[in-house]
């Protein structure tokens, strides 16, 4: 043993020299090991290969700009079906044969044969926090509850953007000629889950009436889903009639939204709420929830739908388990190791990560496209100086180099954003048109002049920014700050968090939203009337334009899709003319599935359309 005073054979200098050599060698090895990334696939407009390709991902790319002929079937016309008629399949779709008395599905399915049994394992970005989907905006809760509850109608899911509906618990519906009533014929033989206190009794029209009343009187957050209904009639067990003061262009859409569950009264009567029990008519029964760990659902043995592929009752799976993984890297690792079959909320892996994931992995199913439920660009509070001056708002738009932003923030995986999300494929202005608009073109000189003319040089513009699931938002805001500074404004970023940000939106104590606006439904009404109407629930811009109000009200009640499109065109023109928001880009996101997850379609509604038809083949 050496004393503390003794000198060892290794001096400090020689040790440091050795470490330097070792460090240099390790760095060289690291640089060598980190080879160049695989090139990113072209953004948008890609083809959908017929099946898995050896060593490559199956790429399903759909963008609002083009729909190549060989891509997955396009959405059918969106007009509400004529009285007494079931929804008609499009020419491009390959209808699946009807089973029992159900009308045929119009979307493409994996041809099978399906494999029965097994558990689909997936990840959830956060804990559901509650079981009350009708009182919460929680994404994972909506995902999991959509496996338990059903609705009168459901989204068809022919592709990601398809917002047309087809029958769910209702077999068919008719709309009165004046648009002020809708009659639904319910599917017979549907049972509630055989779980107390409902105990598997039959689903009837009374359940629908009760649900509507519950939403209108007790749901604090989603009363709007049904407040257009003035009266509900139930002439018999399998018929429901909704009466309304005026037509509602989004009535069917509202009914298909996953928050709009048909509820059993017994749970409310026994517990006074839906916090502790989730009992529905869906293909899966809520089995277990370990807060912070996982959610488990098991197959409903009494489910009422029959497979058109093998003629046996659905679902194919024995259950679905959602592991709660708040961390992005953890979800990536779980996918890479095959632990999870895919992810539908809060995943959207970054482009480089997707390339890394599919490199060496066989047959991954992949979808690239503009993400729904977002948009709106930078929202401006036009009641605050200098944003009350149109010249300043136009200048801020002219100052943005959108191509540079797309290149730096999204590595090219984005397209120019408009005044409503590009994912509204039938309504949003195409990118070509946006690029031709005078005040969306990059022109810093004109911007500077406008700022000078408005006397706004040096004016402070505060940009709110809260943490986002997409890291690009911070870079976007910082770039915008630099670009606005370059035209003579004094922009500052105010970091905040989500509740504080929304409190400011409500109180009007903000100038610019860096994070844009989120939506929970593919609703044109939400993207227009709710956002910009002077009485709109989300009129963050604080604008009061009577002409706009008329347009916004008109689109909400226009049942003719072509006419509605024309109104929405005018709405977009109005927003552009007044620059109430400054669009930047619509990101192109990627969703990805393991090759063994069959029929797990990519659809905007958080990806769970037709969950009863998913199977696992591994």
């Amino acid at each position: 043993m050496r004393s503390s005073e003794a000198q060892g054979p290794l001096t400090r200098r020689s040790f440091l020299r050795g470490m330097l050599v070792l460090g240099a060698g390790a760095s060289a090895a690291l640089i060598q090991a980190c080879g160049p990334q695989a090139p990113a696939p072209p953004a948008g407009g890609g083809q959908a290969p017929a099946g898995a390709q050896s060593g490559a991902a199956v790429v399903l790319t759909s963008t609002p700009r083009t729909v190549p002929a060989t891509q997955a079937p396009a959405a059918a016309p969106t007009a509400a079906p004529a009285a007494g008629a079931a929804p008609q399949p499009t020419a491009a779709a390959r209808p699946v044969a009807a089973a029992g008395n159900r009308p045929p599905l119009v979307r493409q399915q994996d041809p099978g044969p399906p494999k029965r049994g097994g558990i689909l394992e997936t990840s959830l970005g956060k804990d559901p926090e509650t079981l009350e989907v009708m009182q919460s905006v929680n994404g994972p809760l909506r995902i999991t509850s959509s496996l338990v509850y059903r609705r009168l109608v459901q989204f068809r899911g022919t592709d990601y953007y398809d917002i047309d509906v087809e029958p769910d618990m209702a077999d068919s519906w008719t709309v009165a000629p004046d648009g002020k009533s809708m009659t639904f014929k319910l599917h017979q033989g549907i049972k509630w889950h055989n779980v107390p206190p409902v105990n598997g009794r039959e689903f009837t029209s009374d359940d629908v009436a009760w649900t509507v009343d519950y939403y209108k009187t007790k749901s604090k957050e989603y009363a709007w889903l049904w407040d257009w209904v003035t009266k509900v009639e139930t002439p018999d067990k399998y018929t429901v009639v909704f009466h309304m003061d005026k037509p509602n262009a989004e009535a069917l859409l509202n009914m298909a939204v996953d928050n709009n569950a048909i509820l059993p009264r017994e749970v409310f009567e026994q517990y006074g709420n839906f916090r502790s029990k989730m009992i529905g008519t869906g293909p899966y029964i809520w089995k277990n929830w370990e807060p912070g760990v996982k959610v488990e659902l098991v197959k409903n043995p009494d489910y009422w739908e029959v497979s058109e592929l093998d003629g046996k009752p659905l679902p194919y799976l024995d259950g679905i388990t959602g592991y709660i993984m708040p961390d992005y890297a953890t979800r990536l690792a779980a996918y890479r190791s095959g632990k999870i079959s895919g992810h539908r909320w809060g995943f959207q892996p970054a482009r480089n990560d997707v390339e890394g994931l599919v490199k060496g992995m066989q047959g991954q199913q992949r979808w690239d496209g503009v993400h729904f439920l977002s948009g709106g660009g930078f929202v401006l509070n036009i009641s605050k100086k200098p944003l009350d001056d149109l010249r300043v708002r136009r200048a801020m738009s002219l100052a943005l180099n959108r191509d540079a932003i797309i290149a730096d923030v999204q590595q090219g995986a984005a397209q120019w954003g408009g005044f409503i999300s590009a994912s509204f494929t039938k309504f949003a202005w195409p990118e070509d048109k946006l690029k031709g608009l005078e005040f969306l073109k990059y022109n810093p000189d004109q911007a500077r002049q406008l700022v000078k003319d408005a006397g706004a040089e040096g004016a402070t513009v505060i940009i709110d920014l809260h943490p986002d699931t997409t890291p690009g938002t911070k870079i976007l805001v910082e770039m915008a700050q630099q670009m606005w500074k370059a035209i003579g404004l004094n922009p500052t970023i105010d970091p905040t968090d989500v509740p504080a940000s929304y409190a400011k939106r409500q109180s009007g104590d903000f100038m610019v939203f860096g994070n844009g606006v989120g939506f929970s439904s593919a609703s044109i009404d939400a993207a227009t009337r709710q956002l910009f109407h002077s009485e709109g629930q989300r009129n963050y811009t604080r604008n009061k334009d009577a002409e706009f109000d008329k347009l916004a009200e008109a689109q909400a009640t226009e049942m003719d899709q072509e006419k509605r499109k024309q109104i929405v065109d005018q709405i977009q023109q109005k927003i552009y003319d007044n620059m109430w928001t400054i669009p930047h880009y619509d990101a192109i996101d990627t969703l990805i599935n393991q090759p063994w997850a069959k029929n797990w379609g990519f659809h905007w509604q958080l990806g769970w359309a037709h969950s009863e038809r998913i199977w696992v083949d591994k």
């Binding site: 043993m1 050496r2 004393s3 503390s4 003794a6 000198q7 060892g8 054979p9 290794l10 001096t11 400090r12 040790f15 470490m19 804990d127 926090e129 509650t130 919460s136 905006v137 604090k220 957050e221 989603y222 009363a223 709007w224 916090r275 807060p291 912070g292 760990v293 996982k294 592991y323 709660i324 993984m325 708040p326 961390d327 890297a329 953890t330 990536l332 690792a333 779980a334 890479r336 190791s337 095959g338 632990k339 905040t496 968090d497 989500v498 509740p499 504080a500 929304y502 409190a503 400011k504 939106r505 409500q506 606006v517 989120g518 939506f519 929970s520 939400a526 709710q530 629930q537 989300r538």
Partner: protein, 305 residues
């Protein structure tokens, strides 16, 4: 202890209410389709419609009776949430601590005893690395690289320690390594410097002069005297660990106190956050007391009257 806890309760109660936004804003986020009267009704149901001091006295009155209230987000009792999370965090903290102690103290002692040899440099390099690399980097690496190299992903959730101990240890091991690494680095360095100081003491020279073996000198004389500052460090760090380590819990999806506290802040869940902070404060105070008492055991010269 009671004055400290009372002060903490006042601070946390006030601080969270000074932050803009409340639980309604957090829950509803972008979905402001609810009418203003509906929002007010929601606030009234949560007891947020009364003045702040009334809210405080209602809450603290309940705490004194053992009722910490219900979470404004999940509506589950605050105390039951804490009780369900504490064992997870406690297990992580204890195993991390044991890992740190078992690794760090022997290395720190060896490093001091064999000062300026390759053993010393290796130990100091290891300490430097564990201190320099953030725990979330270690944690992410422990998750990512096994999935890439071997297709391995640790089992999700936490199996009960009592009924499935091996599975439980398999699940917590990567997390405890990530969590314990920084503490190990700190303990290593502190142990080394403390032992070096004690090795120069007269009583150690005397022990050697008496002919005692090296191991006997270290274990019988040096170690005990060197450990006082190390115990202080471990005690204060254990309190921090018990408060929860958010990053590790997030990465490994362990529903512990850290994640609960973070979520409470993000969602402005006042009652849950107040309960959590009060609990963490109590743990800190208790552990500081235990550390103080331990001094007397380690060093007979320290006695409390």
């Amino acid at each position: 202890m009671l004055p400290v806890l009372w002060g903490v309760s006042l601070i946390v109660f006030t601080a969270i209410r000074l932050v803009p936004g409340d639980v309604i804003m957090a829950k509803m986020q972008g979905e402001f389709s609810a009418k203003p009267e509906q929002l007010e009704r929601m606030r009234a149901e949560l007891g947020l419609d009364v003045p702040g001091y009334v809210q405080y006295f209602r809450w603290i009155g309940g705490v004194v009776r053992g009722d910490f209230g219900v979470s404004m987000n999940t509506f589950r009792p605050v105390l039951s949430e804490i009780i369900s999370r504490v064992p997870i965090t406690a297990e992580l903290a204890i195993i991390s601590l044991l890992f740190a102690i078992v690794i760090a103290i022997p290395i720190g002692v060896a490093s001091a005893v064999y000062q300026d040899t390759w053993i010393d440099y290796a130990g100091r390099l290891l300490a430097m690395l564990t201190l320099s690399v953030p725990s979330f980097v270690i944690a992410s690496a422990l998750i990512l690289f096994p999935s890439i190299w071997w297709g391995y992903f640790p089992p999700m959730g936490l199996a009960p320690l009592t009924s499935r101990p091996l599975e439980n240890l398999q699940q917590v091991l990567p997390a405890t390594v990530a969590l314990g690494a920084i503490l190990a680095g700190q303990v290593m360095r502190l142990t080394r410097s403390s032992v070096l100081e004690v090795l120069r003491s007269d009583f150690v020279r005397t022990a050697r002069a008496k002919g005692l073996s090296g191991l006997a000198v270290i274990s019988g004389h040096v170690l005990r005297a060197s450990l006082i500052p190390v115990v202080t460090l471990i005690g204060s760090d254990f309190g921090r660990l018990l408060g929860g380590t958010v990053v590790i819990e997030t990465i490994f999806a362990f529903p512990g106190m850290g994640l609960l506290t973070l979520t409470s802040i993000q969602l402005r869940d006042y009652t849950q956050l107040q309960g959590n902070v009060l609990f963490i404060a109590a743990v800190f105070v208790l552990f500081n007391l235990l550390v103080d008492l331990l001094y007397g055991v380690l060093d007979p010269r320290i006695r409390y009257s």
